[in-house]
């Protein structure tokens, strides 16, 4: 019998305690913000969409190799000896035309692993987070600054250069004894 009444008592009391808490919160200002109208202030280390500063990119492929989901695709074309590509902002000499640099943001997991190995700090994460698209293909971002014609031209230049070199070599080989020379791979960067 004692338990019976103590049950009623504790039930009523604890309900009133709970109601007091919620009533208090009725008058506490809200902690939410009205998102599309008011945007949260993002911290400086925010990790959102990647950005590549192509002026500084030397096409070394380290970011692509660090990526755990392989969302970065880089294609490089060797510059001709006559061409001067200039230097990056921290003084590295560029030797490759970056003819392809795409990041597939539908795959990207925003882990930032690609940012750290970059020798020129040209790939970094920005605070842009609203970039939804209706088509998945639209999430593949191309960062190359060259126009498609220019890219093709660079590739053609290299192919022509290589062919000329090959022809010269053949000529030289025909003239003197053959020299063993391995052709350098096109896409492999120099570290």
């Amino acid at each position: 019998m004692k338990e019976y009444f103590s049950n009623i008592y504790t039930a009523l009391v604890t309900i009133f305690i709970g109601m007091k808490v919620t009533l208090k919160h009725l008058f506490v200002p809200s902690v939410t913000i009205q998102y599309p109208d008011v945007k949260p202030e993002l911290p400086e280390r925010e990790r959102n969409r990647l950005y590549v500063n192509m002026d500084d990119c030397i096409g070394c492929d380290q970011c692509a190799r660090a990526c755990p989901v392989s969302c970065i695709q880089i294609e490089t074309t060797k510059a001709l000896p006559a061409e001067d590509l200039g230097k990056t902002s921290n003084g590295k000499k560029k030797a490759l035309w970056v003819t392809g640099f795409t990041i597939d943001f539908s795959k990207c997991c925003y882990c930032q692993l690609c940012v750290f190995p970059c020798p020129t700090d040209c790939i970094y994460m920005t605070d842009v987070y609203e970039f939804s698209e209706y088509q998945r293909d639209d999430l593949i971002f191309d960062f190359v600054t060259l126009t498609p014609e220019e890219r093709q031209q660079k590739r053609d230049n290299l192919a022509k250069f290589n062919a000329e070199k090959e022809a010269e070599k053949l000529k030289a080989a025909a003239e003197s004894k053959p020299k063993i020379e391995t052709e350098q791979k096109k896409d492999q960067p120099k570290e």
């Binding site: 309900i15 808490v21 919160h25 506490v28 939410t32 009205q34």
Partner: protein, 361 residues
């Protein structure tokens, strides 16, 4: 009044009777229930939001006040999905029955001394009987949906509503014993004057019985409030639609306007039971402090004031229901039965006997 107008218009008492009857019965729907439901849905969302340190709907209109209207428009436009294995006639009829049950209760609720849908002498009796229709509707919905969750929900709901009608009835009975009437209109009229004439404070007049009745009435009020909470399936008694267990209970399979009817019925019911509590214990439409109309000598102001008082009292209890909902967890089905059979009914019974003795004095 309306009847006389139609007799003049048609010159035929039968047509006039039908026309005025239809009009009179539709009036509360359009004048009160629909605007109230729109308001209550928004209020529920706003109250819950602010209790949870949120803002709730904010985008449609000022502080989202158009949100419910937008929702209703969306629900009307929605496709009416009926699953292939449902029992179609029952499935389609159930929401109508549920809504009719809760809407019919409004007929006998005295909104003011000048407006009461139907002045039946057995007002309370009628309300309690007609809300029983809701049970049938819920059972239909659960069975016809052909969904195990719906079935469990409706079974729970029926068991719950049936058991909680008993304490409600016992408390109503004790009130009837004290007031010797079953008409809500008369009951409200008896509690006229100031707030100390309300039944929660022992009823009209100054006698020993009045003071003896106060504790019993307080207990009676708590019991009827708890059990009506259970009858309208609100937290902590919302196990029929417990969303964390049964997804949505008996209306899992409903969509669009049929779902909206369940929704509307729930909110209408909330007000109906709050109105009964207000009418029984808190003076109905009577003002607690006297009328401005009397003070100014403006006769026509009084019914409007009465209506406002009644709405305010009802809405306050609706607010308390919301407040409880956003505070408390939900009971388990066996505990729910235990609350009714082990706690509310015995206490209500003892309370009834005590009140009986007091009224004998």
């Amino acid at each position: 009044m309306m009847y006389d107008f139609f007799v003049d218009l048609f010159g035929n008492t039968v047509i006039a009777g039908i026309a005025s009857g239809i009009l009179m019965s539709l009036l509360p729907l359009f004048l009160f229930i629909l605007p109230y439901a729109l308001f209550a849905v928004l209020a529920e969302r706003k109250v819950s939001a602010h209790m949870q340190d949120r803002l709730g709907p904010m985008r449609i209109g000022w502080h989202g006040w158009n949100q419910t209207i937008a929702d209703i428009i969306k629900l009307i436009q929605k496709e009416d999905i009926v699953a292939s294995d449902t029992d179609k006639p029952l499935f389609n009829f159930a929401p109508v029955l549920v809504f009719a049950g809760s809407y019919a209760a409004f007929a006998a609720i005295p909104f003011s001394s000048y407006y009461i849908g139907s002045e039946v002498d057995l007002g309370i009796f009628y309300i309690i009987a007609v809300t029983g229709l809701v049970v049938a509707g819920i059972l239909m919905a659960g069975w016809a949906s052909n969904n195990k969750y719906s079935l469990l929900g409706s079974m729970r709901s029926v068991a719950q509503i049936v058991s909680y009608e008993i304490p409600t009835m016992l408390v109503v009975l004790s009130l009837v014993m004290v007031s010797e009437t079953m008409s809500l209109h008369t009951l409200s009229e008896m509690q006229t004057g100031y707030f100390w004439n309300w039944y929660i404070f022992g009823g009209p007049g100054f006698s020993l019985t009045k003071f003896l009745l106060i504790p019993s009435m307080l207990i009676g009020f708590i019991i009827i409030y708890i059990s009506t909470l259970a009858e309208v399936n609100r937290v902590p008694f919302d196990i029929p639609e417990a969303e964390s267990e049964l997804v949505a209970g008996y209306h899992t399979e409903y969509s669009g306007m049929k779902f909206a009817m369940f929704f509307l019925a729930e909110y209408a019911n909330m007000y109906a039971v709050s109105a009964i509590v207000a009418a029984l214990f808190f003076g109905g439409y009577q003002s607690p402090v006297g009328y401005l109309g009397n003070l100014l000598g403006v006769e026509w102001l009084i019914p409007i004031e009465q209506f406002l008082w009644f709405a305010a009292k009802g809405l306050f209890f609706v607010f308390v229901q919301m407040w409880l909902r956003w505070t408390l967890p939900r009971l388990r089905v066996d505990q729910l039965m235990a609350v009714s059979w082990k706690y509310l009914i015995p206490i209500a019974f003892v309370n009834l006997i005590v009140i009986g003795f007091i009224t004998l004095i």
